[in-house]
Symmetry: C2
Subunit: 156 residues, 2 copies
Amino acid sequence: VAIGRRGPTPDEMTAWRGSLRTHALVVNRLDTELRQRHGIPLDWYDVLVQLHEAGGERTMSELADALLILSPSSCTRLVDRLVAAGLVRREVDSDDARVKHAVLTAEGRAVLRRAAPTHLAGIRRWFTGLLEPGEAAQLSALNARILDRLDRKAND
Amino acid sequence: VAIGRRGPTPDEMTAWRGSLRTHALVVNRLDTELRQRHGIPLDWYDVLVQLHEAGGERTMSELADALLILSPSSCTRLVDRLVAAGLVRREVDSDDARVKHAVLTAEGRAVLRRAAPTHLAGIRRWFTGLLEPGEAAQLSALNARILDRLDRKAND
DNA sequence: GAAGATTGACGAATCAATCTTC
DNA sequence: GAAGATTGATTCGTCAATCTTC
């Protein structure tokens, strides 16, 4: 039936809406937790993690790419706040002065170290820990498939 | 091993990050599509859908609940914009004058009718259509489990 | 002139405080 | 006084324009 169907099936619609709802609720919990226990929003934590995983520093462009969505200017302003808070400092690239690096400070590392256990426990507590064994892998696989095909579509 | 583990397993971490990335990319696509083809952001579309599904109207409180996250004040301002655009009008409840209803206008219905095919096709195109048959149901089930248990945790 | 990054101007989100009606 | 909703002040996100360096 339904040759040429363009709209989602009921299953598809449920999957879509469920994903939206899950995302909203979980992100909200994690953000609240970080703010209450460590005084930083989830955005800041993301920056600290990205810098840490890249060895402590990244250029602004790299950082903007690593942080989902975020426009270049938003990234600048976000880093401004972290600099004001003393968690990050800026450095001009020694080879190409157009390039600026965001660099973790000692304080930034300390905050990350303290906040990480809360955040990681939060991910289990509010998200993956609510699944049965093996289901996290399923979810990973589904996301991987979507992301892979999205990427192909982007480069068509 | 790892008695007392608190952090996510690699599978769990991949599931979490993948979900974040998928959400960001898909929402971004759908928003861009609606803006370009119908001149409305995804937020507006959500409001129109919520009102339509509730029979054309909802109180501000109900609407704020239905729209994920959104604080009461944000909901007020969002409806302000839709009212200014002529897609929604406000009505005071006849029983309890504290309660205000957001009501779809004819124009609002018309915009929804035109935009819906684009949006629904977009969900398939950028999200569920990228999965294999049966996988949307899997994804639904995973989300349902998480949402169900999140709910229980909220009321503990 | 183009790449990397920032700024000015404006629209949107949020908190606390407020207004109205119950 | 509490519920429903809005407003004022502030912060945050984004576009276009700008600055600097290549």
